[in-house]
Amino acid sequence: LPLVELTSEVVEILEELERASQPAQVAELARSVRALPGPGRYIALWAWSACLEPGPQLDAALAELRSWIAGDTAAVRDAACVLTWRAHPGLQPLVEPLASRLGESEAPLEQLWAGYALHGLTQAMVPAAAAFPQLFSLLEASRGNDRFAIVSYVLGQARRNGESFEPAVDWVARTLPFATGSREIYEALLDGGFEPPASHKPQLAALLEFQSTRSWLTKALRSLRARGDDLQDLTAKVSRQMTAKTAKELTTAVSAAQTLVSSGVAFASFATAWERALAHKVLAAREAAHRALAATVAVMSSGELERERRSATSAGFTKLAEYLAREPEPPRPARAAAHTPAEARPLDVGAIVEALDGDNLEKLRWAAYQVRRASVQELEQLLPALVDALATEARAEALDQLARGLPLGLELGHLLPVVAGLCLDRDYYDFTTLPALLRFLIAAHQQGLDIAEAWPWVPAYKDGKGWANLRFDLAVRGIGAGLRGEAWRAWLSSFIVELSPEGPATATCESVKNLGLAAACLVSWVRAEVPR
């Protein structure tokens, strides 16, 4: 990364941005930023994106972004980046232009970048209802193809943001068979009192075999029955499926039968099918039938059971009758609390110290776990043993507990050389120790302690991989406090890469976010180095 060359340009952009008052200046700056070569332009782009913050430049920046959103793939990508980095509710006017780029006629890469931009906005609680038709349309067209997973991410985030999906309920229903997110939305709608229309029945029927949807699907089917649908077509279809020869087909059919009986369909409707399933030649099929039957009869009253048994006997279904005649398993007693809640019991500091100093790994882990509820006075008594535990398998927990002592006012500055050393220690060199180390250093910095000794060794831990969020947190603090170093520069620069919307959506979201964080750190680094 030609950071040195970029230095002056980024600083110039920042200075010009601070002076820019006219919309034309903001647009002019945007053009010069986007014309920069290589992935290094993302740093300048991050600097420019400051004008998206609420303020006098916002309107000009919104106008500029509209033109980006309407532009080519690179322009939509840049828009997705800046919107993710600076998302806030004031950017809602851009939802509709972004939605228009999700249309069928658009290029897939542009659809994807528009999706990432919407995801960035919804993460900042920006309402995305205006884009629902296009999002669901794309979801339906892609039939749950992983390539467009970002669409599900946007809808899922909108659901978590509490947006109403009632106007889009038909879209939701149509995507039920292949989109897990739509199932969650539909469940939430049912919980809110929504009554499914008969037109949703085919999509609901497609979910009959899934255990995960049974709880709310039962509710939806009951609602359909209450409005006059006897579900006879589904019953007949499932009964037919239960006569399947293969164990796989039969397993799904008995699960569907269980759902239908829970939804109020008569048990006797499946009697023939149960009888055949219980006599299936494949053990796995018989076991599946037993499981489904056990779950079905578990919710029946003894009167209902007896009636069904008599009916099965008279119809000559011996296996089913025999099964129904079995004594129901007594309900398992609720597990009694083994002992009083941990919080209520006083901490045995002596026993914990002994276990921390001992050789028994199980006790050591127990002791380290117990320290979680130690008060500040108890923690102080435990300090020497916790320090020694840093050379054991309970290192991460011990470190976390020591980190807990920092905001409680314990004087732990003398431990910093040890913690710095843990960044280089290859015993228990794992991804569990890493967050504990970072949390300790962040807490130490918050307490005003000098973390310079550990600072150079943090990027190299596990080759810079893992826990990027905590590392960035530390980076922001360290750079703000004037700490530098080639290792950190290289680590931050490793995030400044060309972005691609292809591949796993989580990875792209992380790349965009981390690129912004890295750019923010590098800009603050660069600004401090260049005399103003």
Partner: protein, 343 residues
Amino acid sequence: MKRPVALKHALLALRSPLGATREAALDTILALATVNMVDVRSAQPALVLLLARGSAAEQRKALQIFEYRADMGADVGIAVPVLLRLQRDADARTRSLAQRALKYANKRLEGLLTSELQAPPPSDGQPPSSDRAPSAEEPAPSEAALRTEAQFFDRAVELYYQQREGQKAEALLAEATRRFPDSAALASVRGTNLAWSLGRHRDALPYLERAVELDARNASHACTLAWCLLWLGELEQGREQARRSLKCKKELSNEVRLASQLYLYLCGEPDERPKLLTALAKLIHAGARVSDWTVDGLLEQARRADHPEAPRLAQLAKVTFDQAPAESLEDWPAWQTARRKRR
């Protein structure tokens, strides 16, 4: 993770507010680390605290422990940040110990510290500080004051290895082995001094055998005995000891592996050689080297036995002993084959 009782007591004593108690605990840990080869890893966090904030005496003892552990190939990464500080210390001995520990730690950390390592002090006509006799401010412990096995061991190593005073070391070790007849470490160091410093390989043999007898699971003792036997032309026994050292678990560092495999390559059976050369290539590629050692006698034995690669063996030994770069073997076809196999 079973720790000896002595180590547990020492760890508890390190928490004492009394300096004398802590120093005694450090002596115990040093003795455990150097003599009985106990894994004192669990003491490392407390040792780093002393290294960073302890008294000068505590700091020096903690440094000795880390330097010894680093030399043995143990992980001392936890002490590296403080060692980096101490490599610029005003005291020459502290500097020297820290630099040596860092050198070994750097190997283990695959060169991560290279840019941080302090260059050795410029030569002013005197030997480097680490090889110099203790300065006036820091007098050498008098032989009469030596009490423990560890103290004898340290002093002997200092005499024969750092000061190259083999005769003085032999005198001291004669007394030491008389007082501690069951110490494998002292027996081994006496044998090594007799053979390596004084060239008295035949005289060294009983001590090296005694060390193996006392500590049969120690790879390092078996390796030194193998070296001495092969030097003296006792090829069969020497090979057996070298093979045994590779099977021992105790103190089987990469250095010991490298040395034993080199001895077997020089004086072993012909059908073992390709496999051994591949193993040597792997270790050398991983950065393993044996410092300050010689195999002249073994090279002679190899020549006498018409070793097919005889012209290359001296260069292989130089690379093994860090006197030549590994690239100098690249024009050797057998080495190239071994390197390919390694991959």
